[in-house]
Amino acid sequence: MSIDKNDVILEIKDLKKHFAPHQSLAQTLTGKNRKVVKAVDGISFDIRRGEIFGLIGESGSGKTTTGKLVMKLIDPTSGTIVFNGEDVTNSDKARTHAYRRQVQMIFQDPYASMNPRFKIKDVLEEPLIIHKIPGDHVAHENMIIKALTEVKLNPPEEFMGRYPHMLSGGQRQRVATARTLILNPMMLVADEPVSMIDLSTRAEILHMMKDVQRDLGLTYLYITHDLSTARYFTDRIAVMYLGRIVEMGDADDVIDNPLHPYTKALIDAVPEPETGKVDVIKELPISGEIPSPANIPPGCRFHTRCPYAKPECSAEAEPELMDVGNGHFHACRRYKEI
């Protein structure tokens, strides 16, 4: 399926999520406010219909919070989420319920996200009951068989009677995918779907997810810390750092020609199995670890770790995402010099 640049399915605009920490009455009265954690701090991106969009970042970058915001599991502090032409940011309960039928989530841990006392049949029937999908037992069973066939668990009748512990990690993640597909969603949010899966099966699951996406014309939001799988799996990626997007564009373009120093460092840190290339990881230009989102540096928030930082980086306002043409965005005002 070819992707139409202007056919946007999900539009995120200036989305923020700030968590106010719990504080005691005494702290409030004395005015000793504890710092607000700015997990997501103003991000905007579009996901086009039929594409796989990757959100990349280290722990603490806000990628999972973004996923939760998109799923409407938590409410944003500000900003808007427009899905399929409709603003769903502040939708009521009934509307949110309907929205979640169209946007489904695949969780990281297929072991923890399934009730061990449910047979696979029950695991898959649950969403049908929750969303009150009309049909009797037989109709539901047919839907379950269809969903299991879509993720290539053959023969489906045999798997329906099994319990989650009787399946391998890869099969479980297939069931988790089938559970989302049974509601005929338009979009899937997958938060690290393969990070808990063995290496030999990881490729198999990504393969299966790509096939399903192509067959059913789905859109994915793929959240990961792993650049290598993102390159293989996604069409476009956005790199997050401390609650902001620092670079965004075509996956191949961003990885082959990174513009932001943070993206460069991320790529430099990845080893590669190639001969004559032992010690690919050089002495890293960036040191230290990601600062706390409760204490975001002023100016460009990467300047504390950036090897190219100049005084203006911390003194001037935070750079916005800039387009260099061909849809490759970056948020570094000195990208030309570095």
Binding site: E58, S59, S168, G170, D198, L199, S200, T201, R202, A203, E204, L206, H207, H225, L227, S228, T229, R231, Y232, D252, I255, A265, L266, I267, D268, A269, V270, P271, E272, P273, E274, T275, K277, V278, D279, V280, I281, E283, L284, I286, S287, E289, I290
Partner: protein, 323 residues
């Protein structure tokens, strides 16, 4: 180069009510001084079990079977009594950074107190001397002496991993077993830890056994690679032999490499290995990999292939790779 460690016919079985799980079955390899040997494979192939076997402390109901030999600096530690191993081998000569060890620091003690404990157990020194030594080792792993007074929850994953590495090096072991030392860390922190390990290896002339499931990382750190499958060695060779142009010889290694997504090269399609690793109570007859192998022949299901040296330093256990 001089041999530091020689493992011969190592067998470790877990004796369960359903039968013996043959977690390690006839594993032999050696390690030279100053070398890094990588152990790779899927979960359950015996990587970690090999690590704990070298410390001679299999977790129950595991038992190292008769006939296994672990020769460390010329003496077989299998013949030594437990007291002697405890006093002079474990942590003194061989130490291990366990998988997820950074999350096993006691939350109620300060870092300094936890590090002191190791020293008091093995060395006769007063607190002042010990603290000096701790400060020295903290500096080596790039941490300021103040962290001694801190609690684990006050530190990031990368810092905790540095603490665990420092603790493993205290008693100046010759061999350090690193079990997935960077798996839970972010890429940039992983790169920092890898660079630190390389530096420490040079400073102390250490030998490493580096356990990971990540083939890209193994290529980065290891001189020789040992690919394990279902409790056996499938292939063992130098970095060049496994990752080189000619490519690996064993179909399992070949498939593992093809299943690894690359960052710097666009791959249209990754291949994968169908099925799952076998049940080690009753492993398949013949080659243990044959039910999942794409190059299987009749012979594979009948006879077990021996681990043969097909070129200098390159051992493969596959009927397809005979001389």
């Amino acid at each position: 180069m001089e041999k530091l460690l020689e493992v011969k016919n190592l067998r470790l079985y877990y004796h369960t009510s359903k039968g013996a799980v043959r977690a390690l079955d006839d594993v032999s390899f050696d390690l030279r001084k100053g070398e890094t040997l990588g152990l790779v494979g899927e979960s359950g192939c015996g990587k970690t079990t090999t690590g704990v076997a070298l410390l001679k402390m299999p977790s129950p109901p595991g038992r190292i079977e008769e006939g296994s030999k672990i020769i460390l600096s010329g003496r077989d530690i299998m013949t030594l009594p437990e007291r002697e191993v405890r006093k002079n081998v474990r942590w003194e000569e061989v130490s291990m950074v366990f998988q997820g060890a950074m999350n096993c620091l006691t939350p109620v003690y300060t870092i300094g107190k936890q590090m002191l404990e190791t020293l008091h157990e093995h060395r006769d020194m007063d607190n002042k001397q010990a603290e000096e030594l701790i400060t020295e080792y903290l500096a080596l792993v790039g941490l300021p002496p103040e962290v001694m007074g801190r609690y684990p929850h006050e530190m990031s994953g990368g810092m905790k991993q540095r603490i665990v590495i420092a603790t493993a090096l205290f008693l100046k072991p010759k061999l350090v077993i690193l079990d997935e030392p960077t798996t839970a860390l972010d890429v940039i922190v992983q790169a920092q830890i890898i660079n630190l390990l390389k530096k420490l290896k040079k400073t102390f002339e250490l030998s490493f056994i580096f356990i990971t499931h990540d083939l890209s990382l193994e290529a980065e750190v290891s001189d020789r690679i040992c690919v394990m499958y279902a409790g056996k060695i499938a292939e063992l060779g130098t970095n060049q032999q496994i990752y080189g142009k000619q490519g690996p010889m064993h179909p399992y290694t070949e498939k593992l490499l093809q299943a690894t997504p690359l960052l710097r090269k666009k791959v249209d399609s990754l291949s994968y290995i169908p099925g799952t690793p076998p049940d080690l109570i009753d492993p398949p007859k013949g080659c243990r990999f044959h039910p999942r192998c794409h190059k299987v022949m009749d012979k594979c299901s009948q006879e077990e292939p021996p681990l043969l040296e097909i070129e200098p330093g390159h051992m493969v256990a596959c009927w397809r790779c005979g001389k």
